[in-house]
Every structure is written in C-alpha cells, then in structure tokens.
Symmetry: C2
Subunit: 358 residues, 2 copies
C-alpha cells in the first residue's frame, strides 16, 4: 500500500502521517482524534508544566490505544538583556498608546521552557512511545535518559547539516522542516532565514545525507502533498496547518477567520513576534516591524510585550498582534473533524500514488 | 508511461521536461542537446538583439528537428533616476577602491530589454513553436501577434494570483515558479519577496486555480523531483540549475566552482545584483549589501555598476560580485552531457513513478 513502511514499523502506526505538535493551538482533543484515525499524535509540551504534560498523556491514553508522542523545545534559554527589553518596549509603545494601554505596565515573563530534568522525569515515568524535539536536542545526559526510557526520538532539521548533526546524535528519524511550514522553525545550526530551503529541495537532499527515515514537513495539506513527499524520498509526512481549522483545534475565532482567508502568498517567516523565526500569516506587527528584525530581546522574551496588545486588539476583532502561525498551504486546510481529515488525507494519498503509475 | 500527457500533446514533445531559458548562462548548444533528448528546449533572448535571436533559432533548427521555444522578458522598462544611480555608485565605491578601480568610471548601460515590436517581427518570421515570457506578458497587441503567428504561449507565475492573471490573458500553460528556483523570479503582481511560496505549496494551489496545465519549477533536479511534481498536480517540469554544470552550459570556471560547492543552504533570493528578485548562491555583494535592499536604481540598472567589479574580482579568482544564479537543489546538479542528463532524468522519473505504487 504505502511505498515506504519504515515509519509504520518504527512507530507502530497505521498511517505514515504525523500530526504536528502546535503549542498554543491544540491540546489532547486533536491528538486523540488524529490517533484514532491511525496517525501518530503529538502533544506539544513546550508551554506546559510537567504536571500538565503528564496529565495530557494520561488523557490521551484513556481515550485511545495508540502511540503518543510528546514534543519539547530544546533551545538554550537566555536571560533577556534589560536594555534590549526596554528598547523593545519603547518600539512597541506607540501601539500601547493607540490601544490605550500603559506602555510601562508590568508584563508576565514569556513561558517557553526548554526540556529539562523535571520534564525528563515525566518522560521516564509515563514513557511516551515517541519524544520529538524542536530547536536541536537537549544535553546528552537528558537525551540518554529519554532513550533509556524506551522512547523513539525524532527531531526537526531545517537544513541538511542539522539533519546530519541530529543523526550523529542518535535520533531515530528526522523531520525535514521545509521553509513552507507554519510556526517556529527548528533552526539551530543556522540563524539565516534568507537561505532556508523549501520542502521540495530539502527532502531529497536530506534523504541522501542521512540513513534514518526522513519525515517531510511544510506545504503538505492533502493527498497530493503526501504522495509527493514519498516521491521525494520521505518515508512519511508531518502535517500541522491543515489541522488548524478542524473543530478540535484550539485557535480562537480571530485566528480561524484569518486562516480561512489565507492564500499561497499570505504568510512570511518572521522573528518579530517571539524572537525566533516562525512562519505565519502577515499581521500588522510583522508588516510594520519586520517581518525580520535585528531588534528585540530574543526568544521567547520578544513575545512578552505582545501579550497586552494581542488581548486588547482581539477584543475589537483585530489580529494585528496575534500569532497567526500557518504554512504556505493554509488555503488547502479544510473544516473537517480531525479524525475524518486524517482518513481523507490517507485515502487521497493512496489514490494519488496509484494514479501516478496507472 | 507519464501520468499526464497534456504537455506532450500541446508541445509535441517526447518528455514532459522543459529546459529552462537561462540568459547569460547558455546558448544554442545546451538547447540543441536538450531537444535531442526529447525535452522542450528554450533559447533565452532577453539579452540578445533581434538578429542574434533569429540566428540562434536557425542554428537550433539546423541541428535538430524539434520544437523550439524563445524566452523573453516582459517587464516595464524604467529610466534610472540619476540620484539613485549616484547613490548606488557611492554605495559600491569602497569595492571599486579595494579593487583599484575608478569609482566614477563610465559604465555601459545594463542591457535587458523587454519584448518589443522588433522582437515580435522575428517571432512572426521564424515562428518558434513556443514563446515563453518572464515578468508578466507584453502588451495585448504584441501578445495577439505572437499567438497569431501560431506560437504556443507560456509564462511564469510566482503566486496563484499571477497564474490566474496569465490564464485570463490566454496563455496555454503556466510555469509555477516556486521560491526554490534559481535566477530571476517572475514576480509581476507582487514585489514582496518574504511571502513567495515554495514549489511544494505553490503547485497544487495553482493547479486548483487554473484550467491550463501547470509546469512545476524550483528545486527539481532529479527523477524524484519530477515524480513529485506530477504528484502535486503538475503536468511537467522546468529544470534550470541542474543544467548549469553540463559541458554545454556557458557559465565560467568561477561559477562552476561555486556551483560544485553549493549545498541546500547556500542560496538566497536577492535584489542586490540586478534590482529584481533572483535566487543565487550568496556572494559577498549579497551578504554585505542585502540579500534584499531598498537602495539601488532598479532593474536592470542596479547591475551596471557590478560589471567592472565582477571583471576585476574574477581576474583574481573571486566570485564576490558575480551572479551565481542557482536554485536550492544546486547540489543535485551533475556534470553530465545535457542530452545524457535529460535521458537520465526521464528514466529516473519513470522508475520513481512506478516504484510509488509498487
């Protein structure tokens, strides 16, 4: 049926489709639906406490008998430089005034913690079948513990060099995150947004460079994309944006409305919103401050000052300061229940694969 | 054999492979080799005089009995603003001094003329089987004359909106120029480089939006890419960068050396070198002046001041100021004779297509 069975065997799943972990945009409901249809489900844990992460794994397992993957960030945390924070707040002050907010109001710190010992204990305890990392890998001792817990480990690479680096450190599969993909880019050996390769160029070059299976991500939203990923040498796909318009996604009405209007030229890679490169539908902040800027206090600190702006703007129905994370195939998204969507994706892909050699 | 025969029938060719016109990097020799293997060959005419363009068509026809395509630019020419030219020369003056050149030396004007009445007469006279346009279409009366001469007309689009615009004006097929592709981007309804979609996202959305066949371009350099293009809904592919390392290409030794060293993260889209967006291996000028700049006197005038720098730097073996146009799959290029390369591409693609549903 499928041209490459490596991922099905490695992850013990029915379909070579990975539901992408999307921190802030989903929780257990989407994961459960994806798992029920036979995809590998993922729980984004980067914005969760260890207790919450443990709880979510348990909820999924109560609902469906299927492998679960937990996703973590593996960035090196930085302390924000006060001068840069002040300059960034100054830069955003006109927006605060426009929205009748106090530009000096106290801000909660941005919460995106990297994988650490506390999370590692949860992993060792709940033993998810799969652990995936973004922005590189945690330190060797933590990675060792994850592997010793019996978890299959995968991680995202945006250039071939990153995939080779990951494979050398023992990951079981690499995600080729093409430039089309929505949300944060996993870049960790490069910070050059301008040279990030697209899915079409990246997948075959990555497949040539590493022995582990390559999972294609970026621009994949229907059966055509899944078939094309296999053609390029991928053993499966990771799909995110296509799930954002399902009823199970947790994005709000303002984001849903933006997603419904998005087209092939609506998104850009920006570092304005959080301090790291991420693709989203161009909002006012990206347009007026970027989409790429050398200012800002870095990841994730740049995002803190957008909190009050986002909340105030959204009250008036505006997405000016909202993260509208989405990939370049946002317009191929469908308003289907996620379980139904996964089944449709798989059926379309198999039909497409058959048609290609008919 | 091929999953979609529309282009084979429309262009009366054996293979759904279009050799990309690459102005400045090729002439009749590459076109002849590509045509002999069964691809649609293309002569880039944007930097040729009408007499020279006519001569090249005749040379190809003497060597091979196959359809010929002539490629033209369709940009709106601009007169360079003297203040912008002066500022640009000032910006480049330190490089002139470094290379012991006079920053005020007279420069020949940059020669990239759009399709005009004189070229149209050549077309009406030699009647190439195909005419392709970049940067939009010529004015309606000229386009009418090209169609009345019996030429099949194709043109490149970088976003779905451009493809729809082209289809409404009667083109017979559209080239979906994904962001991965090397050389100048055909952008004509947008000037926003940051939102340009990659091949993987662009092709299916374009195929959904227009009734004419879609030719995929960008990141395609082997049989995997050709098979993937069909999977995404394309009826064929246009391939450029993969031909640059063939003996028939006319790029010099410095460019060849850069191409041989290029990898998936070596290229960026820049407007520094010519005033229009184009993808190439990052050279010193792109790195230090861009890769994207709001300065410069526009296309093609920005390129004039690089002429002396390029010549002087190349004498020392440096590609600091050389256009290293190439796509993101540059590393998949092979040093094969072009005819052999086309045959290998087709065989690999058919093998790949068969394997996908085995």
């Amino acid at each position: 049926m499928w041209p490459d069975r490596r991922l099905l065997d490695l992850f013990k799943i029915d379909l070579p489709i990975f539901q992408a972990p999307m921190a802030g945009a989903m929780d257990t409901e989407l994961a459960i639906a994806a798992a029920k249809a036979g995809a590998l489900c993922a729980l984004p844990c980067a914005m969760l406490s260890p207790e919450k992460a443990r709880e979510q794994v348990n909820i999924v397992r109560q609902q469906v008998s299927a492998p679960v993957s937990m996703n973590f960030f593996a960035h090196t945390p930085t302390v924000p430089e006060p001068t840069k924070v002040a300059a960034w707040r100054e830069r955003l002050a006109p927006y605060y005034k426009e929205l009748q907010l106090d530009p000096a109001m106290p801000l909660p710190s941005a919460a995106r913690a990297p994988f650490d010992a506390a999370m590692c204990e949860v992993v060792e305890d709940v033993r998810p079948e799969v652990v995936s990392f973004h922005f590189g890998l945690p330190e060797a001792s933590l990675l060792r513990r994850v592997k010793d817990a019996g978890c299959v480990v995968i991680a995202s690479a945006t250039i071939v060099k990153e995939a080779v680096w990951l494979a050398e450190r023992g990951v079981d599969a690499v995600i080729a995150q093409g430039a089309e993909s929505g949300g944060h880019r996993s870049m960790f050996l490069t910070d050059d947004i301008a040279t990030q390769p697209g899915t079409f160029a990246l997948v075959p070059q990555m497949a040539d460079a590493v022995r582990v299976p390559v999972i294609a991500a970026g621009g994949i939203a229907d059966g055509r994309g899944i078939a094309a990923a296999f053609a390029l040498g991928a053993a499966g796909v990771q799909i995110g944006t296509a799930f954002l318009r399902t009823p199970e996604s947790k994005v709000n009405a303002i984001i849903r409305s933006s997603l419904a209007k998005g087209d092939d030229g609506s998104t850009a890679i920006t570092n304005v919103m959080t301090g790291r490169a991420a693709r989203g539908i161009v909002n006012r902040a990206m347009r007026e401050l970027g989409p790429v800027t050398a200012e800002g206090p870095g990841f994730p600190h740049a995002s803190a000052a957008f909190g009050p702006l986002k909340a105030a703007a959204e009250k008036t129905g505006s997405s000016d300061f909202t993260n509208l994370w989405a990939g370049q195939a946002v317009a191929l998204g469908r308003e289907l229940p996620a379980e139904e969507l996964v089944r449709a994706l798989a059926e379309d892909a198999l039909r497409r694969l058959r048609a290609l050699s008919a």
